[in-house]
């Protein structure tokens, strides 16, 4: 400012002006802050649901269910589709103003429950209707922390045209590892490998279970990642890779098994029932069949992925939120979702109806009889994340080296539990 712009004699006046300006500015700031900060007060309760949607069909179905609930109870539900569920949840928990209910996968439930951000749902009205295995997948230290809403197991997805071209019939669906290796070899030809799947525990783990291995001991206290059974399982995978009849998705340069399968770069893949949506939308011309995974030395085995609704401990309307979760996991709502986007309901009562709806996906439902969910240990998602990173190098790395490493990491978080 030019020194002569303000005359010295006007000091008191300009000071007063300065003060009033400061007061005005701060008053404005407070007013604006208050207007932005405080939620608009309404007499009706409003609940917020944060979901990680698989696509428009799921978003639409959840919104429809929420509207039906509002109609029934008068409680407004605001459904928000997250672009990064983990990050948005973390922000909500940190701010003390999280969404009332949200999607919760079973590999992160223990981490969240341990930090105290989840409210227990033991008193949920329909708690007894869920499959016990799904309830167990969401139970941490004796309390249920999410209501199972749907689940899927992994099964073997087969390209029908390739199967016929290789002169294989329904009799040849592999029942054992040896048969799997043999059909994969027969299916392999130029431009198409017999079997492909993600280079991750979340797919290859099925071979561990089939061979009698698992991540943790029965009591859940000891890591058993580098057990003989697991080493054997991954060596079998490596044998098939070396034989050229099995490729991991990173070797094919595709994002996931469904992409490699849809692009017909492989004739078989190991995937969950979410592949149905991708096949319908992206690769409608590829015909396929879904059969149960072959049995290993220890019998049948597959991995199970669970989706659930969690409730925030900081929710201001816990009673209403709990009733909304009850509603959203009712058999009729779950059947609606199944029709809309193909998920498998978490309640036993509608299994038969679902089988009639999707006879072609019976293998996924059958898998529930012998499937395992990821153990509930705080921090397990991080360890399995590293397992997946290491498995990307499986073709060129000794299986035991990877398993030893992950075993150390898993034991470390088991000790902290």
């Amino acid at each position: 400012m030019h020194p002569h712009l303000v005359h010295p004699r006007r000091t008191t006046r300009s000071r007063r002006w300065f003060l009033s300006a400061v007061v005005t500015v701060s008053a404005l700031a407070v007013a604006v802050g208050a207007a932005i900060g405080s939620p608009t007060k309404s007499h009706a309760t409003t609940l917020t649901a944060l979901i990680g949607s698989s696509g428009p069909a799921e978003t639409f179905a959840v919104n429809a269910a929420a509207k039906a609930y509002t109609k029934q109870t008068g409680v407004e539900v605001n459904v928000i589709v997250a672009s990064d569920l983990g990050q948005q949840l973390a922000q909500g928990f940190a701010s003390g103003n999280p969404p009332d209910i949200f999607y919760m996968s079973n590999d992160s439930v223990a981490t969240y429950a341990k930090s105290g951000v989840l409210a227990p749902l033991d008193k949920l009205k329909n708690v007894k209707t869920f499959y016990p295995s799904l309830r167990a997948a969401y139970t941490y230290k004796g309390h249920l922390y999410a209501a199972p809403k749907d689940f899927s197991t992994l099964a073997l997805v087969i390209n029908s045209a390739s199967w016929q071209r290789a002169k294989l019939t329904a009799k040849n669906y592999p029942k054992t590892w040896a048969q799997l290796a043999s059909v994969a070899k027969k299916l392999t030809r130029s431009g198409q490998v017999g079997l492909c799947t993600g280079a991750e525990f979340h797919r290859l783990g099925v071979f561990m279970i089939q061979n009698g291995g698992w991540l943790v001991s029965k009591d859940g206290k000891t890591a058993t990642v580098n057990s003989k059974a697991n080493i054997q399982a991954f060596n079998f995978v490596k044998q098939m890779i070396n034989a050229g009849s099995f490729k991991l998705t990173n070797q094919l340069g595709v994002g996931w098994g469904g992409e490699g399968f849809g692009k017909q770069q492989c004739a078989m893949t190991i995937e969950g029932n979410w592949i149905a949506g991708a096949m319908t939308h992206d690769y409608p011309s590829v015909k396929y069949r879904v059969v149960q995974l072959p049995a290993g030395r220890a019998g049948m085995g597959t991995l199970q992925y669970d989706g659930g609704w969690g409730m925030a401990a900081a929710s201001k309307n816990k009673a209403a939120a709990m009733s909304l979760i009850s509603y959203l996991t009712l058999p009729k709502v779950q059947l609606g979702n199944a029709k809309a986007f193909g998920v498998m309901p978490s309640v036993k009562g509608v299994a038969k109806t679902w089988s009639k709806l999707y006879p072609q996906f019976a293998a996924y439902l059958a898998g529930a009889n012998y499937s395992k969910s990821i153990p509930n240990v705080p921090g397990i998602a991080t360890v399995l994340g590293d397992f997946n990173q290491q498995l990307q190098g499986l073709p060129t790395t000794d299986a035991k080296t990877i398993l030893d490493r992950v075993n150390r990491e898993l034991q470390a978080i088991l000790n902290q539990q």
């Binding site: 990050q87 070797q251 150390r408």
Partner: protein, 373 residues
């Protein structure tokens, strides 16, 4: 005493301007304080606390250096991830900063030579810099897909390209394998630092990371070209003319006139480059999320992932502050290096007989050491 009182009563001719100054500064101070200083202070506090993401960090407990100790001295997943991320980012910086500086300077010199259609060249080079990094990353994902344009091009020359973003092999390991060294000697395989074996420290950037290196050079060279261009245009033509008259070659003019005169700008570009490359995040978040085999994991992404997905907020914040320390360290080193060379070495000092203080271009041209006192 009296005088001081008097001075306090009468603000003098500029006294009240302080008030107005503060008023004008207030919005900036409030904004910076609210969105910069406060969050940094909070993050610093989190790095010393056991905050688990539940509610405000103010209620967390102070744990001292525990999070830092956990990262730096406790063997485990967090430590080996941190070590791996430092290794990856180190090689990224090591390659990106010199290459982008050289390319930017080269482009600036070209554009500065008054060739025709300078404007369109400037625009073309600058274009990648103004495009969103997310868009560029997605473009590169397509270009470098195993069946993408790059590999298609390579196949015309009979070269089978690697699967790029899916290839975790380290560049140095690949080169060593060409000479038959594909297993580490025991001394390198067994020694560990920050949870990563010496052999893996020496892996070089992975093939996947090389894609990001190319991308960084491609996107940032334009910005730095503009900075260099500004510096080049501030060099008086007469200096170059004098050198030319004395018979200096282009290379000598560049080496002994251009480079010394734009040295402050080189410092700026290298420093900005160091800061930018150590902080690489969005490309990784959009492109690979650390895959394959953690070879594109960087400290910035690891900090985010550890905090938001692993709920280990203290450790995540500690990573951020160690990264901060690394950046400060390298900036100081760069400063020291450029400061030391600020003084022209004695043998190259120009003689006192020179008119107008211009460099004695004939001596430069002949490349002989100066004979001056």
């Amino acid at each position: 005493m009296l005088k001081r009182f008097a001075r306090r009563r009468d603000p003098g001719i500029r006294g009240h301007q302080a008030a107005a100054g503060w008023l004008f500064l207030a919005p900036a101070i409030v904004l910076l304080g609210l969105f910069l200083v406060l969050p940094i202070a909070m993050a610093l506090w989190v790095s010393f606390s056991d905050w688990n993401g539940n509610g405000s960090p103010r209620h967390a407990h102070f744990v001292g250096l525990e999070n830092y100790r956990h990262l730096l001295t406790q063997p485990g997943l967090d430590q080996s991830n941190f070590g791996t991320s430092l290794r990856n980012n180190f090689y990224y910086v090591l390659l990106v900063v010199p290459i982008q500086t050289a390319v930017a300077l080269f482009l600036a010199v070209l554009v500065n030579r008054g060739i025709k259609a300078v404007g369109s060249f400037r625009t073309a080079y600058y274009f990648p810099s103004v495009t969103s990094s997310v868009a560029i990353t997605i473009l590169f994902l397509f270009l470098f897909s195993p069946t993408g344009v790059i590999n298609e091009l390579l196949s015309y020359f009979g070269v089978t390209g690697p699967s790029w973003l899916y290839d975790p092999r380290g560049l140095f390991h690949v080169i060593l394998a060409q000479f038959g060294v594909d297993q580490p000697p025991a001394s390198l395989a067994n020694g560990m630092f920050l949870g990563v074996s010496y052999w893996d420290w020496l892996s070089g950037p992975s093939i996947a990371m090389c894609v990001f290196i190319v991308m960084a050079v491609f996107t940032t060279s334009g910005t730095f070209m503009l900075l260099f261009l500004a510096a080049l245009q501030s060099i008086d033509d007469s200096v170059n003319e004098a050198a030319a008259l004395d018979g200096a070659t282009e290379w000598r003019k560049f080496r002994y006139i251009t480079v010394p005169m734009i040295r402050p700008m080189i410092f700026t570009v290298v420093t900005l480059g160091l800061i930018g490359t150590w902080q690489i995040f969005d490309q990784i978040y959009v492109g690979t999320k650390g895959s394959p085999s953690n070879t594109t994991l960087t400290p910035a992404f690891l900090s985010f992932n550890t905090s938001f997905n692993g709920s280990e907020w203290g450790v995540g914040a500690a990573i951020a502050f160690i990264l901060f320390a690394i950046i400060v360290f390298f900036t100081i080193v760069t400063r020291l290096v450029t400061r030391n060379t600020d003084r022209v070495p004695r043998r190259r000092r120009f003689g006192p007989t020179q008119p107008l203080g211009f460099p004695d271009a004939s001596r430069i041209a002949s490349g002989e050491p100066g004979s001056a006192p």
